[in-house]
């Protein structure tokens, strides 16, 4: 079947793909340094060679992930202009401040990642360990800044329009600290720990299921799971803080999430269901719960799609399904975490086969929840790019042929994902075969690296 992609759809798919790819790597960039810190610190403080070895391995893997994350993030800043010039030419200066601050965060992150990755054996152990701290802080700060821009698109602030529709009275601080930013930033920040923790833990879970139950495996599993286990239990509450603002900030998104055709109070909560010709089919309604979830009250009004003109309604089925997928995945992850802590508390083996399998599942669910959460918020804002101020079709580029760049991006990102996975698997395989954490780079065909000869020469001072 030939699908005719118009330019706007191609641009949206390209943006979605680029963001969906980058966000997974961004999670590692924000959360992995904290996990490495725990292991590294333990390695130094307790003279724990296993912990130190794990820290080194994770650092080497992070070198690959951070590199791909840095460049895929750059693509996004290009796409802001290439795909959405209408947005940037009108509002570039309104939302520029958090972007500029994120630039600083990125600088600091990149500098200290360079220092940390190359600091092994070159910096004193204490100083070396501490170089992780600015990486963690700038990761958190960078998350806030970038989410601030997205939150502003959802809850625009910090400007007025004059009679001609020109932007006036720009207040960059008000734009940055819009009403949606804290909830959204917290939700995303916690998500980075859920995703990174469960993905790392699931790698070790797979190893343990294959019978590799040594101390390093249990330690790697436990550290990663500890972060994800706590984050995934907190996350539903943080998410609720974001959601309860929707009734006020983005009623059309809320209506789509709830698949509410009519405004109701009290409103039911719809589980499952699909909208066909304006009628909800196959859904299970739980009375009053919709009001409680969305407004924290028994009779709060939940807006329905009928309040919005047809051309201002988001595609409700996509948004509803994405939201329910996120909540379902999140609930399962929280349950898996609670199960793990409960087993530990009862001194049952926390590494039983079923627990390990559940962790592998949680790794997959974490990415599902992450992506479906973003689908919820982005598709839920449609047709707006800046809620109630600018529509996506006003922002999109006038250039044709975006589907070509979309096709190129699909191929390139698929290749990058494949190559990164291949390289990391190759690293893991070599680590299993040898206890040496250093990986020789095979630039020369000979076994004996010429570099070792140089080092031998410079080590004895004979220049």
């Amino acid at each position: 079947m030939l699908i005719a992609l118009d330019n706007l759809m191609a641009a949206r798919y390209q943006m979605a793909l680029s963001l969906g790819f980058h966000i997974v790597l961004a999670c590692f960039g924000v959360a992995l340094p904290a996990m490495i810190y725990v292991l590294h610190r333990r390695g130094i403080r307790n003279q724990d060679a296993d912990a130190l070895l794990l820290a080194k391995k994770w650092a080497k893997v992070s070198a690959v992930l951070f590199a791909v994350g840095a460049v895929s993030g750059t693509i996004l800043s290009f796409e802001m202009g290439i795909l959405w010039p209408g947005l940037m030419s009108t509002y570039g200066d309104v939302i520029g401040l958090p972007f500029a601050l994120e630039g600083i965060a990125f600088f600091i992150e990149a500098v200290f990642i360079g220092i940390y990755l190359y600091g092994w054996g070159r910096l004193s152990p204490k100083v070396h360990l501490r170089t992780l701290i600015p990486i963690m802080l700038s990761g958190a700060f960078g998350t806030f800044c970038i989410i601030s821009v997205n939150a502003w698109m959802n809850a625009p602030a910090g400007f007025d329009l004059d009679q001609d529709g020109e932007v006036i009275n720009v207040d960059p601080l008000a734009a940055m600290f819009n009403s949606a930013v804290w909830g959204q930033a917290a939700h995303m920040f916690v998500a980075t720990y859920v995703v990174t923790g469960f993905l790392v833990a699931s790698v070790y879970a797979v190893g343990m299921l294959k019978g590799r139950r040594d101390r390093r495996h249990t330690m790697g599993f436990t550290v990663a799971f500890a972060f994800a286990g706590i984050a995934s239990v907190i996350q539903p509450f943080v998410g609720h803080l974001t959601g309860e603002r929707l009734a006020e900030e983005q009623p059309s998104k809320l209506a789509a999430i709830e698949l509410a055709t009519e405004t109701e109070s009290p409103a039911p909560l719809m589980i499952g269901g699909i909208l066909v010709d304006g009628e909800v089919r196959l859904g299970i309604e739980i009375p009053v719960l919709g009001s409680i979830v969305a407004t924290n009250s028994l009779d709060g009004e939940v807006p329905g799609l009928n309040e919005f003109p047809p051309d201002e309604r988001p595609p409700a089925n996509v948004v509803h399904l994405a939201f329910q997928t996120m909540v379902g995945a999140g609930t399962l992850m929280a349950a898996i975490s609670v199960w793990f802590w409960w087993r530990r508390r009862r001194h049952d083996d926390p590494f039983s086969s079923w627990m390990l399998r559940a962790t592998v599942l949680a790794g997959a669910l974490s990415v599902v929840a992450l992506q479906s959460g973003w689908v919820t918020t982005e598709v839920g804002r449609q047709p707006w790019i800046v809620y109630r101020f600018m529509r996506v079709d006003e922002a999109v580029t006038t250039n044709g042929g975006i589907w070509i760049s979309l096709a190129v991006i699909v191929v390139v990102y698929a290749s990058m994902a494949y190559l990164a996975a291949r390289v990391i698997r190759g690293m893991a395989r070599r680590w299993r075969e040898s206890d040496d954490v250093e990986i020789a780079t095979p630039y020369g065909p000979s076994e004996e690296s010429p570099i070792l000869a140089i080092n031998a020469r410079s080590a004895d001072g004979s220049e």
Partner: protein, 342 residues
């Protein structure tokens, strides 16, 4: 000095920094590609790994800095540049992804064949990326980007000045990288490689100088606004660039690799600043002035404050990074036993 001029100057500071630091990283591509087979090229490829490994991500952030300053400081010119020149920008984006990814992948490759594949990808992307960035610069400098972004999506960036920009970008980054690699190899104790890179850089420098002379003729004919700026305000910078470049070449001949790279840095910085000064006070040459293209005033003040904040946070961090990588113990592979005594 008007507020818009301050923001433009800060934006251009990013362009200069990216040309120097990002440029020196990209410039390694041509050397990597031409380093020879596995036997002969291994030394140089290891040196490139060590030289740019710790710094390339930080140097890359200057590009983000430029983009953010452009869209925040000059939202409409930014949209015009991205719309008219979206094809070269996409190619730059691809180059950046392939360069960064391949560089990271190569270091941890399992086999020689895999390392070679990533190496070719890294090297090719490192050459292609500055080339298209140079073409973009040429398009803006020769007045081919209309204010409303409606420029021809092919012709706007394929004029004579764009080709000159692309070629000069590749040559200057290659020259810069060569002098840095020579100095780094010497610090690492590999005098043979240092001498080889010194010789090659000397050659690259001569080619770059000749190309710059040729470029002057093309700019004269194709970009009159830029040319008149270069004759006037820009002239001292052109002279500085020529003198610094010649000095650098002389020092390369003398085997003073460490000093030669400073001459190369000054030569490249002067030529880039010369472009900026020559183009002033246009943000889009012949189309939009800096004063007309500037965004909301309150945000510009915010940008300047952010820059001040960066000067006391990011800049000291960058300086520390550069100090570390220039230390001798960071120039060689560390001893393998980094685990504490058990």
């Amino acid at each position: 000095m008007a507020l818009s001029d301050v923001v433009a100057a800060l934006l251009f500071l990013g362009v200069v920094a990216y040309a120097l630091f990002g440029g020196a990283d990209f410039g390694c591509g041509l050397w990597d590609l031409t380093a020879g087979d596995a036997e002969r090229g291994a030394h140089l490829r290891h040196q490139i790994d060590r030289s740019i490994g710790p710094v390339w991500e930080a140097n890359h952030v200057w590009l983000i800095y430029i983009l953010v300053f452009l869209w925040t400081g000059f939202p409409e010119p930014f949209a015009a540049i991205m719309t008219t020149l979206y094809i070269p920008w996409l190619l730059v984006g691809l180059g950046i992804v392939l360069r960064g990814g391949a560089f990271a992948f190569r270091k941890f490759s399992t086999s020689f064949a895999e390392a070679r594949m990533h190496g070719v990808m890294f090297a090719t992307a490192s050459i292609v990326t500055p080339f298209f960035l140079g073409m973009i610069a040429g398009a803006v400098a020769s007045g081919r980007v209309p204010a409303d972004g409606s420029g021809d999506i092919w012709k706007s960036w394929t004029g004579p000045t764009s080709w000159i920009g692309g070629v000069l970008a590749v040559l200057t980054t290659t020259f810069l990288a060569g002098t840095f690699l020579a100095a780094d190899a010497r610090r690492a104790g590999n005098h043979e490689l240092a001498a080889e890179m010194g010789r090659k850089s000397l050659f690259a420098g001569i080619v770059t100088g000749a190309a710059a002379l040729g470029a002057a003729v093309v700019i004269e004919l194709d970009a009159p606004t830029l040319a008149s700026g270069l004759h006037g305000r820009g002239l001292p910078l052109i002279i500085i660039s020529a003198v610094a470049g010649a000095t650098s070449l002389w020092q390369l001949r003398q085997g003073e690799w460490a000093i030669a790279r400073y001459g190369a840095v000054v030569a490249v910085a002067a030529i880039v600043i010369g472009w900026g000064v020559g183009q002033y006070d246009w943000i889009l040459v012949d189309e939009v002035t800096i004063a007309d293209g500037i965004g909301a005033r309150s945000t510009q003040i915010g940008l300047i404050i952010v820059f001040g904040f960066a000067a006391v946070t990011a800049v000291p961090a960058l300086v520390w990074l550069y100090v570390l990588v220039n230390r001798r113990d960071w120039s060689v592979d560390p001893t393998r036993s980094t685990t504490p005594t058990r």
